[in-house]
């Protein structure tokens, strides 16, 4: 298990210990959809297919984290519209997460996560997710973008 720390060397605030079994792949477009911070050194053009996210069920699992207030327009369809580029046209992305043996579909982005010491970010978000199989069971999950932190 490695540690996720703030990507800025002058800060290097410890965010959380990464439990590898809770790391999921989302389409790389998630970084745009959720307006997440890219590490300074990262080449934006490299654009890999997938991005790793650490799924955190309980906010107390974080060692140091800043949590924003509720985001005004947070519905996933709205976010998709906002971040759609001309070349992609009407492509909409769905984000599915396997966590604790269930598949969850992201329906809303509720809050942003930022570094607790230097406030840089967003380095992740809190999402409302719905159980894909039952389509009823709702919960909140914290998604830490591993592309936005050092680990």
């Amino acid at each position: 298990m490695s540690k996720a720390v703030c990507a800025f060397k002058t800060c290097s605030c410890k965010i959380i210990t990464i439990n590898d079994s809770n790391v999921v792949n989302l389409p790389h477009h998630a970084i745009e959809t959720f307006h997440l911070m890219r590490k300074g050194t990262q080449d934006a053009a490299s654009n890999p297919e997938n991005s790793d996210f650490l799924i955190v069920g309980d906010v107390w699992d974080f060692d140091n984290i800043g949590v924003s207030k509720d985001i005004p327009s947070s519905d996933i369809t709205e976010l998709n519209k906002e971040s759609a580029t001309v070349t992609e046209g009407s492509t909409t992305y769905t984000y599915e997460i396997n966590y604790e043996g269930k598949t969850w579909t992201v329906t809303k982005c509720v809050k942003y996560l930022i570094c607790a010491d230097c406030d840089k970010g967003p380095i992740g978000m809190i999402c409302e997710v719905i159980n894909k199989d039952t389509a009823s069971d709702k919960r909140l999950l914290h998604l830490l973008s591993l592309e936005s932190v050092t680990h």
């Binding site: 800025f8 410890k14 210990t17 439990n19 809770n22 307006h35 911070m37 300074g40 955190v56 069920g57 309980d58 906010v59 107390w60 699992d61 974080f62 060692d63 140091n64 984290i65 800043g66 949590v67 924003s68 207030k69 509720d70 985001i71 005004p72 604790e100 509720v110 809050k111 942003y112 930022i114 607790a116 010491d117 230097c118 406030d119 840089k120 970010g121 967003p122 809190i126 709702k138 919960r139 909140l140 914290h142």
Partner: protein
């Protein structure tokens, strides 16, 4: 399952209280605008922060809350105080009115917060040349109210972290002396420790 394996010894809910403009938010958030601190975050505002400190070898997690402007309307709800184990009363050393109002805030806090909540008086913006409230005045008021006292400048991080560390240490000492039960905090803030149903936690404000 994340809920079963807690990686801390204690958790503490801590509130920042005081007149608007005294810099409570600055103690919590640095509003530095650059490309990595996008303005949309500062516009949305910060709900709370979690910070982990080491107190005598114990891993203590602090949840820090700001009133976010509610104080302007004196509408800080009882819910905000619920479960708070520490309360930081903040005034601005460059604004006498905010210092005078500490008495009022002290009374409000005494009415609403748990009796065993640990209070701390903080004189903020101590780096400013335009100071009108002296260190001695702050110290003397603290003595009168029976509170520990610190002067701070949000520009100086060490100092800000000192505030949280000092308060956490005082609370931990209370817990260790059984003056403040962990159970009490749990009663009033049930979701935090109860484990697996994380659904409502981040909504609790």
């Amino acid at each position: 399952m994340s809920g079963n394996n807690k990686n801390y010894d204690s958790i503490m809910k801590i509130l920042l209280i005081g007149d608007s403009g005294v810099g409570k938010s600055c103690l919590l958030v640095r509003f530095v605008e650059d490309k990595f601190s996008p303005s949309f975050i500062t516009t949305i505002g910060i709900d709370f922060k979690i910070k982990t400190v080491d107190i005598n070898g114990k891993k203590v997690k602090l949840q820090l809350w700001d009133t976010a402007g509610q104080e302007r309307f004196r509408t800080i709800t009882t819910a905000y105080y619920r479960g708070a184990m520490g309360i930081i009363l903040v005034y601005d050393v460059t604004d006498e009115r905010t210092f005078t109002n500490v008495n009022q805030w002290f009374k409000t806090v005494s009415d609403h917060a748990n009796d065993d909540a640990q209070l701390l008086l903080v004189g903020n913006k101590s780096d400013m040349d335009t100071r009108v409230v002296s260190y001695e005045q702050g110290e003397s008021l603290a003595k009168e109210l029976g509170l520990p006292f610190i002067e701070a400048s949000a520009k100086d991080d060490t100092n800000v972290n000192d505030i949280f560390f000092t308060l956490a240490k005082l609370i931990q000492e209370k817990i260790d002396n059984n003056k403040m039960s962990d159970g009490g905090a749990q009663d009033s803030n049930v979701n935090i420790k109860s484990g697996n149903d994380t659904g409502s936690k981040s909504n609790c404000c």
